[in-house]
Symmetry: C2
Subunit: 242 residues, 2 copies
């Protein structure tokens, strides 16, 4: 645990973490070091050189290998003869999907929606691919931890509706079913579900990051319908499959 | 936490959990009650009646809503006016995918492979659907916690190869890439990757449950190739996309 003689690092740039967490950790382990993106990405070789021969722990938000940063660091470490031990953690990938009330087994590929100045058709394409196999899509929304910027759920909906207007493939429309999730697992958790034109009117920006958006395929199983109705008061026309 | 005046229940039938966990929990909270599948599924209404008006916690292995049992219980509780608070947990859904070295974003729908006496073409069909959108498949292997039975990775491979022989759709063959994962997150974790006819020869049954199997789509990104080569010494012909 944290009380062992390990040197302990924490990174807080791949996701937003509450201010209290590093403060709390410093109470247990005062000499905890915050490492930057630069330390672990650009200067990863000198970082590894520094911790070589010692026992070190790097604390990161979420599942350690969902972000490519940590996977690259693991590969660089192993290539240099380090022994790595991983302690897994809750991830938005499973938490967002499962808390929504939709079947975890019916989620297809996950995608991140970038900021509008970094526009991409990729989120639209992934939703389209997933729909082809009757799968839901977990859309994660981009953040810039350093500046506190984040994409809000209604902004992502608007990006997808614009792509729909451009491509006209009936992938994501005003009547597409959307589950919006903000601050999952925290006391401020907000979850809301409904059609896109309804969810887009909600003041998501006021809730703050992290936010994730689940887009449903047209087909819902009866158990999923029941869950969305019970949990988030969604009104659904009877479209169930099972 | 566990020290609060909550009544605490634990269920250990939806997954194998190490014997030490309930013993350790009982040291913190001696009056912890083990609940059976029957309590939470068939008799869920009387279970809810029993805990009505009190603050109770139910501890479960993995992410609380990956198994349908707990989602049904949540719905029944909410329909009866209970207030539910969820503390998320690490799930095999994200841990297995991310620890493999494959991109979490390239996983499609997850599927459970049942025991041969409960044979189904569903795992084969899901792998086929995922391949259509260049997605990997996480195949979870069935367990019977009560009797200690579990499906081992080589048995699942053999089930899929038999389905291939029957259906002839080149979905899962001897040369399909497979990552086998046993006891993820424990000290006895074993991960091995290679083509199906190689991974099937491994004595997975000796390692014990839980085991999960990741089947790769034909297409690997260069970063995924590098990860499989570095982490699990997989020899790959140069097939990368990126």
């Amino acid at each position: 645990g944290l009380n062992s003689p390990f040197e302990v690092f924490i990174e807080k740039y791949t996701n937003f973490i509450p201010e209290e967490i590093p403060l709390l950790l410093k109470q247990i382990k005062p000499e905890i070091t915050v490492v930057s993106r630069k330390d672990l990405e650009e200067n990863d070789q000198s970082f590894l050189e520094k911790i070589k021969g010692k026992s070190s722990a790097i604390l990161i938000p979420g599942d350690p290998f969902v972000a490519t940063t940590h996977n690259s660091l693991r590969l660089a470490a192993i290539q240099r003869g380090f022994k790595c031990r991983i302690i897994h953690n809750t991830s938005i990938i499973s938490a967002a999907a499962s808390v929504s009330g939709l079947s975890t087994y019916r989620f297809g590929r996950t995608v991140t929606c970038p900021f509008p100045n970094n526009a991409s058709e990729f989120p639209y394409e992934i939703i389209k691919l997933n729909k082809q196999i009757s799968a839901h899509t977990l859309v994660l929304l981009d953040i810039k931890q350093r500046t506190g910027e984040f994409l809000a759920i209604n902004e992502a909906i608007s990006i997808l509706l614009e792509l729909e207007e451009k491509k006209q493939e009936t992938v994501f429309t005003n009547t597409s079913l959307v589950v919006g999730l903000a601050q999952i697992g925290s006391e401020n958790e907000v979850i809301s579900a409904g059609v896109a034109e309804e969810i887009i009117t909600f003041a998501w920006r006021d809730i703050g990051p992290p936010q994730a958006m689940i887009v449903c395929s047209e087909t819902l199983q009866f158990t999923e319908e029941e869950a969305l109705q019970t949990l988030w008061k969604v009104e659904l026309s009877n479209q169930g499959i099972d």
